[in-house]
Symmetry: C2
Subunit: 162 residues, 2 copies
């Protein structure tokens, strides 16, 4: 597996993965019926950088974004989001992308990484981020409207990188 | 005092207040050297609505913004930011604007209000938000680069509105 920057030619392969992930309504706040243009704005235009995890044969395994979490005086803390292709789950892709993103964040001069809305029912993700050194620093009551479970809590998770 | 929606004609009076507030670098993450265009984008274009608190004679006493804190499945939680004119401090303007914003948020259908980066050294604000029913639900270690004090903690504060 290699992790490399997104290129325009990747979009036709990338966006259906994001569409299906958001459509599930169980991990990301992006509207489940987000249009291709809205998804492109969120995953390509808004972030500082977008990365892809690819198999040796070029197949897309996952993707992540990296951006400052706040402007100016909060801009030393970055924010990331990760998506793993369904057929690639359980192979350590999320873990590898998260480690990669921390290295990349340090390289770009960020001092910490913050996740703003980790859905509490996404137990696998919470367990993985903890294993990788992130702490739950806050709980947002009923801040996520889960497609199946209704309003559920979300966590703010944080890791100091320096 | 009245609280009313921002109109274009208010900008010449409003933006120097925002410029000076951000320039101080002790309460908001917006870069202290933000340009007029950047400030307009942050305070007028990006928010769902922008409000002004004005004295009977029309003088600007304060301003606040209201917007969804997250898209889609997090869009039932709103976010607000408040600025009080230096000469109007200690007169309950922030408190009145915060109460107004909670009513407005409920009117717009929001179920909760979240502040993402309350600077821990801004003790007056923290005390006021607590008094108005907000809870510190998270602490972000050294997440704000204070112009005088360097890296200081910031709080996530939250209030359920329904």
């Amino acid at each position: 597996m290699t992790v490399r920057p997104f290129q325009d030619a990747d979009w036709p392969q990338l966006w259906p993965l994001l569409r299906d992930t958001f459509a599930a309504g169980d991990t990301y706040a992006f509207a489940p019926d987000s249009s291709e243009a809205e998804i492109r704005k969120a995953w390509i235009d808004a972030p500082q950088s977008t990365w892809l995890a690819c198999a040796a044969d070029g197949r897309l395994l996952g993707t992540y974004i990296l951006k400052p979490n706040q402007p100016g005086l909060g801009g030393h803390v970055c924010n990331c989001g990760y998506v793993v292709a369904p057929e690639a789950r359980g192979q350590g892709i999320a873990s590898a992308m998260c480690e990669h993103s921390q290295d990349e964040a340090r390289r770009q001069g960020f001092r910490a990484m913050q996740f703003n809305l980790v859905v509490s029912t996404n137990e696998g993700a919470v367990r993985l981020w903890r294993k990788l050194g992130f702490h739950i620093v806050g709980t947002l009551p009923r801040a996520f409207r889960h497609a199946q479970r209704g309003y559920v809590d979300a966590y703010v998770m944080f890791k100091t990188l320096v």
